[in-house]
């Protein structure tokens, strides 16, 4: 029982990575995804990777899985029929939402709001009231509620959400309604807002809890079926699902709180990137995952991914912690166009998708995409076969890019260069959101690129941001599965706690944090994590009294005992100053308290690759005409599998492997490190010395 299996299910491929916990040796497999029932593909991959490793499936002890099931359910509006119970007077809480209309001045003219995940026709009111301090103003009318629930029963709802006003302060009525619902609507799963997200703000709490109900039956079915199938092949394995915040949830917790899985897939990429980069010695990172339709970016500081207290999928934003991943509609399939009126070149957010895909795929696509620009520029050479067998057609790519060229009055190469530059700028926009906008200087960070198309753009992005090196891990496609396999069990417990500093004490805060830590630890104990392996940490959300923001401050328990609340207010002031250039001489206020308990992660290391000389010529497989920065040049093409540690790849160069292509720009050098990563630096950079 000393093997871990990481599984990442993507739109096209399912990646699996098997890790021997003792030796750190890994085996990977790639099989086609099976969208109808993803567990079919997973099982096929499991058998294949076990055969490669020569082990019996029963040798696998833990399966860690990043899934997009929850995400896709939201994106395709294919969730459950959800009933909602609100406090009397609040039936339309989702209809009104925050009254926000996107698009700036006049944006309403073109704004059409999507329907709420719990239809108004299936929303009922409970006659009850709790005030902001948790006092019961009006008791629950149980008789009336039973009658209303009976209506939802006849409407055949598949999941029920209860979200009452001020339930964050007192959950008694919500719990009572669950009891009554168990009676009236047996077997319908019930989600309570006071459990899913016990925080102030009725709309956010309600939409989050409704989202939980919406994806719950689908996730439940999936996790259940996957668990059973795994058990049938591999016996008793612990199945864990990667959460949006990069932690792992047990199968049971995933089924109950699936709203925490909405970013499960991308979070795997970030944790995988972190695992790779830490071993290469880079704890400060910008991660860039370039897919077909979008690019996901995140920031990691001192080995810890930045989290945010919300998750956005499509036009749904919920209050669930997630790795702060920002998406921009810029990927290989993004379409370039030139609007008639402005004559400006724009790329995305429209995408050619997987079907027909870029023109170069020869599947009938005619719109110019980013991939087509890469083909025209020579960055995707004819000898490259995407995913192993897809041939690229330069003539079709050039014809498609020609449309943009004609509209701009430029050559095809110049237009392709424009597309490449603009899409890079769009990606930089997303990278700025996670870096400069949060007060981080991108020049203090390395950049790691993965996903099929990431390494094509990595060098250019690093050059724009000054983030060195650009790290290209080997097998950038399986990074998500790697992240899944190497993640530690983690749980957190939090509560809203609004108090001015003068109204509480360090002692009181410590008491509550200890209590929260116990709750979080219980979940890990249930997963049989030994107590000595658990690491506890505390966080508090703080602001100046009167502000709306909340900054999360890590609490050092010893410092808190010694210095009192100054141990929190000092770092808060410093963080406020760093983020916003000023601090205020005003009273501080707690907003929320949180304890995080984490199990031990896997400690294995990736094995080193053989050493070679500085000159990579043994790996050279050809030459390719390229256009870089509007200049024509000849790039050397290398086969990644033949690269050796210590090789120095002088740009312009292209490195090909089965699932991705790396571009090294002129005046830059890619250094192959002992783990097989390519570290790209500008010539003369101290990293090359």
């Amino acid at each position: 029982m000393s093997y871990r299996l990481g599984i990442d299910v993507g739109g096209t491929f399912t990646d699996l990575l098997l890790v021997d916990e003792k030796s750190g040796r890994t085996w990977s497999a790639k099989v086609p995804s099976t969208p109808k029932d993803q567990s079919v593909g997973v099982l096929a991959g499991l058998m294949r990777v076990c055969r490669q490793a020569g082990i019996a499936p029963s040798a696998i002890g833990h399966v860690m899985h990043g899934t997009t099931v929850a995400t896709n359910t939201v994106l395709t509006s294919s969730g459950a029929k959800v009933g909602l119970v609100t406090t009397r007077g609040y039936r339309q809480v989702l209809q009104i939402a925050r009254s926000y209309v996107p698009g700036g001045l006049g944006g309403w003219v073109i704004y059409n709001k999507s329907l709420p995940m719990a239809p108004l026709a299936l929303t009922i009111e409970a006659d009850e009231r709790v005030d902001a301090r948790g006092e019961i103003v009006r008791p629950l009318d149980e008789g009336a509620l039973r009658a209303s629930l009976a209506k939802l029963k006849s409407a055949k709802i598949e999941a029920l959400t209860v979200s009452l006003i001020n339930a964050f302060a007192n959950d008694a009525h919500e719990r009572r309604i669950r009891e009554i619902a168990a009676d009236v609507l047996p077997r319908v799963p019930v989600s309570l807002s006071s459990e899913v997200v016990p925080e102030m703000q009725e709309y956010e709490r309600t939409v989050t809890t409704v989202a939980n109900s919406y994806v719950r039956p689908v996730v439940q079915r999936y996790v259940n079926s996957l668990g059973k199938k795994l058990a049938s092949k591999a016996g008793e394995v612990k199945l864990h699902i990667l959460r949006s915040d990069g932690g792992l949830a047990s199968a049971a917790s995933a089924e109950e709180y699936p709203v925490n899985l909405l970013m499960s897939g991308p979070a795997g990429g970030v944790t995988g990137a972190l695992w790779v980069a830490l071993q290469a010695g880079f704890p400060n990172l910008l991660t860039v995952d370039v897919g077909g339709t979008s690019t996901d970016v995140a920031l990691i500081m001192d080995g810890v991914p930045r989290l945010r207290r919300e998750t956005t999928v499509g036009d749904v934003t919920v209050r669930a912690s997630s790795v702060d991943i920002r998406s921009v509609g810029a990927g290989g399939g993004s379409i370039a166009h030139v609007p008639d009126l402005t004559k400006a070149l724009r790329v995305g957010p429209q995408s050619a998708g997987a079907d027909p895909g870029p023109a170069a795929y020869g599947r009938g696509g005619t719109e110019p995409t980013v991939t087509d620009a890469n083909v025209v520029l020579g960055y995707l050479p004819p000898m490259q076969r995407l995913g192993g067998d897809l041939e690229l057609d330069r003539a079709l790519a050039a014809r498609a890019v020609g449309k943009v060229a004609a509209a701009l009055g430029k050559s095809v190469e110049d237009a392709a260069q424009g597309i490449y530059d603009i899409v890079n700028e769009n990606m930089v926009g997303a990278l700025r959101l996670v870096s400069v906008e949060q007060g981080h200087d991108p020049r203090d960070y390395a950049l790691i690129a993965f996903g099929g198309a990431g390494p094509l753009h990595a060098n250019a992005l690093s050059r724009l941001l000054g983030s060195w090196p650009a790290i290209i891990p080997p097998g950038p496609g399986v990074l998500c599965a790697l992240g899944d396999a190497t993640t530690a069990l983690r749980d957190e417990s939090a509560r809203t706690y609004i108090r001015k500093f003068s109204e509480t004490s360090a002692k009181e805060i410590t008491g509550i944090l200890e209590q929260l830590a116990k709750t979080a630890a219980a979940a890990l104990e249930h997963e049989k994590v030994p107590a000595q392996e658990m690491r506890r940490s505390f966080q508090v959300d703080v602001r100046y009294h009167g502000q709306g923001l909340r900054l999360t401050i890590d609490v050092d328990a010893k410092d808190l005992a010694k210095r009192g609340l100054k141990a929190i207010s000092d770092p808060f002031d410093a963080e406020h100053k760093r983020l916003f250039t000023f601090a205020l001489p005003l009273e501080h206020e707690f907003v929320a308290l949180r304890a995080v308990v984490q199990g031990r992660g896997i400690t294995v290391k990736r094995p080193a690759i053989p050493r070679g000389s500085r000159d990579p010529k043994a790996a050279a497989v050809g030459r390719q005409a390229v256009t870089i920065d509007h200049r024509k040049a000849q790039a050397t093409v290398y086969d990644r599998a033949k690269l050796r540690a210590g090789n120095r790849i002088k740009g312009p160069a292209i490195v090909i492997e089965m699932d991705s292509t790396t571009v090294v720009l002129p005046k830059h050098t890619g250094l192959v490190d002992k783990l097989g990563n390519i570290l790209i630096y500008p010539d003369g950079h101290k990293g090359l010395r």
Partner: protein, 636 residues
């Protein structure tokens, strides 16, 4: 004498031909910088109006002061003409006086701050931003007195002053200002939040200029303006007819029982120039509903509307201003003379958008949206709680979004950019009140092929003795419908006293005493309908009925008959045929009344309020001497 800009580096900028992709890159980078300004302010500000509801506006301008990205059009040129002093590196200017900046801001709650962006001793750009402060002193909490007759009653007015001189805050000046405000802590932190946002913009501009070179940065901004001008020229040519279009609409009353006030505007094209002429607008009011409308800002409004309706991809900036001419007669509601009171200008500001919609659509009825950008309803509640602590709430409400040719108007949503509501749980935690009801009003959206959004009903349960102020409009006139769409419902405020008595409150009122147990039922207006309601899919009407947004009775206004929750197809067809005959061809506009006299005649019966009297005007023209004096701040 205009401001003197002190620059150590006198080297002029060179105009270069910049590659179009570089322009695109600088354009998106500046757009990001402008959103960063928002983020910094929202996160650090304290006035709920700014931090929760986003009543603030940023801009970045080129070195000549033309807005390149932003949302309120540039006033910088005018500011520089009027400011008697120097502009130096590290300076930040503050003003809240509409009369000193030609209406770039239009009441003194808005604190406008301006900062020159220096790089290597030269100004390369300007950053500016304003936000609505909860209180700036004056005769009533919230500083929006409905009964003010002059600007001096409204609070502490700050002419353009150098509040930060060479990087150093002028503490004494700020102290004097804050001393006159009821919630100085909020103003203090909001002030710093705006400064932080300006600095963010400045850092981004300097970074960009460093990355691309000063001359490229300078030339690219110019090219962005030029690009926008080109696109707008095309848009104006295609969409604005040479024949004069007329439209007029009303502000219902002035808070002193007089009204309605007419806003009239004509629009036509001469060559490439689009002309707006407000001749026919009523003279300035003796109360505080006057709206000092900056011509440049109006151009921006008009441009944005054209862009949104016809081609939302265009990035708007000041580039097209030469292509528009705005004529506003002096001494009118939209160009009042100092010292006319201005605080409650929100009604006229909202109405300007309805007028614009009515004008722009006439040339292209297929693109026409209904009315409903009618106002910015305010609720204010203040007093001392049990512990003797002062509480003061300023909250902006929302009505129904108009129906539009692209779809229904959302229910209870904001027409103002990036505004959001305040969570009720937040209100209940920080203020002595409970929100008993927070819902949209069934049937309040105007029926149409595309339905107008429903208005909102908020039930405020009062928990401490205090005073309430209300500012709203569209209680007498209706948000009109277009192309056969019917008007939305009107707004209404009802105070249900703890003792069981009821009182309809005027839509604009101050100092209403409230006691624990009282319930204020605050209802806003619905959006007008767009297109023929008889053409709406009966299934969509049934869906709205099922959701409780339209009643079974209300469905009949669409000619839809429901039986046991299902559409009765035969009865629907018959009813629709009958209604079509009775009605005849649908009108372009449906205002919901024949003329003002007819409207006033049924006012009392329908609204519970006496009809307002015809406005009395104090006609004023300003003397030449006074005009000259007013142009020099500090000497007026």
């Amino acid at each position: 004498m205009p401001a003197r800009i002190v620059q150590k580096n006198r080297r002029p900028f060179r105009k270069l031909k910049v590659d179009s992709v570089t322009i695109d890159i600088i354009e998106s980078a500046l757009r990001n910088a402008r959103f960063e300004m928002d983020t910094v302010l929202f996160r650090t500000a304290m006035s709920p109006g700014i931090r929760e509801q986003h009543d603030e506006f940023p801009l970045i301008a080129n070195l000549e002061g033309k807005m390149v990205v932003g949302q309120f059009g540039s006033f910088i040129h005018g500011f520089l003409q009027g400011y008697d002093g120097t502009v130096e590196e590290g300076d930040v200017f503050l003003t809240n006086d509409p009369y000193s900046c030609n209406g770039a801001i239009s009441h003194i709650n808005d604190w406008l701050m301006l900062m020159p962006v220096y790089k290597d001793g030269r100004v390369i750009a300007w950053a500016a931003m304003f936000g609505h402060m909860t209180d700036v002193g004056g005769k009533v909490p919230g500083s929006l007195p409905t009964d003010a007759r002059t600007f001096y009653e409204e609070g502490v007015a700050v002419p353009p002053v150098k509040i930060i001189r060479g990087g150093k805050l002028q503490d004494d000046v700020l102290k004097i200002i804050l001393h006159n405000c009821r919630l100085p802590t909020w103003n203090y932190s909001d002030f710093h939040a705006i400064v932080a946002a300006l600095r963010t913009a400045a850092i981004r501009c300097v970074d960009l200029s460093r990355r691309f070179g000063d001359d490229v940065f300078y030339s690219a901004m110019d090219a962005m303006l030029e690009r926008n001008k080109r696109a707008m020229r095309e848009l104006i040519r295609r969409t604005v007819p040479e024949k004069k279009q007329h439209f007029e609409d009303y502000v219902c009353d002035d808070g002193m029982n007089m009204g309605p006030y007419r806003i009239a505007c004509a629009m036509w094209r001469e060559g490439d120039t689009c002309i707006f002429d407000f001749a026919g607008t009523d003279p300035q009011s003796i109360s505080s509903i006057n709206f000092l409308l900056n011509e440049e800002m109006f151009k921006m409004f008009a441009g944005v509307y054209m862009i949104m309706v016809f081609d939302p991809q265009i990035l708007f900036n000041d580039g097209f201003y030469d292509l528009m001419e705005v004529r506003i007669p002096e001494g009118t509601l939209l160009k009042p003379l100092k010292p006319a009171a201005l605080s409650c200008r929100t009604h006229a500001l909202g109405r300007i958008f309805d007028v614009l919609g009515g004008l722009l659509g006439q040339g292209n009825p297929a693109f026409m949206c209904a009315a409903g950008f009618s106002d910015s309803p305010h609720f204010m509640y203040s007093g001392y709680d049990k512990n003797g602590e002062w509480y003061q709430l300023y909250q902006i409400g929302f009505g129904g979004i108009p129906g539009k040719p692209f779809g229904d108007g959302p229910d209870g949503h904001s027409l103002w950019p990036s505004f959001t509501n305040v969570p009720n749980e937040f209100l209940e935690s920080y203020f002595p009140l409970r929100i008993d009801t927070y819902e949209t009003i069934t049937d309040s959206g105007g029926p149409g092929k595309f339905r107008g959004g429903n208005g909102i009903r908020i039930g405020y349960r009062i928990l401490e003795p205090g005073e309430v102020s209300i500012h709203d409009d569209r209680w007498l006139t209706y948000p009109w419908g277009v192309n056969g769409g019917l008007p939305g419902s009107r707004s209404r405020k009802l105070l249900k006293r703890a003792d069981g008595s009821e009182q309809v409150l005027p839509s604009k009122t101050d100092r209403v005493k409230v006691e624990p147990g009282d319930l204020l039922v605050y209802e806003t207006w619905g959006g007008g309908g767009c297109g023929d309601p008889l053409e709406r899919e009966p299934a969509m009407v049934a869906f709205d009925v099922d959701a409780g947004l339209v009643s079974v009775e209300g469905a009949r206004r669409y000619g839809v008959v429901l039986k046991n929750g299902r559409v009765d197809a035969a009865a629907t067809q018959a009813l629709r045929a009958e209604m079509a005959t009775r009605r005849g061809a649908p009108a372009l506009f449906d205002r919901g009344f024949r003329d003002i006299a007819e409207l006033k005649g049924r006012c009392k019966a329908e609204t519970g309020l006496e009809p307002p009297a015809a406005p009395q005007f104090q006609a004023r023209t300003r003397s030449r001497r006074r005009a000259a004096a007013e142009a020099r701040p500090g000497r007026a």
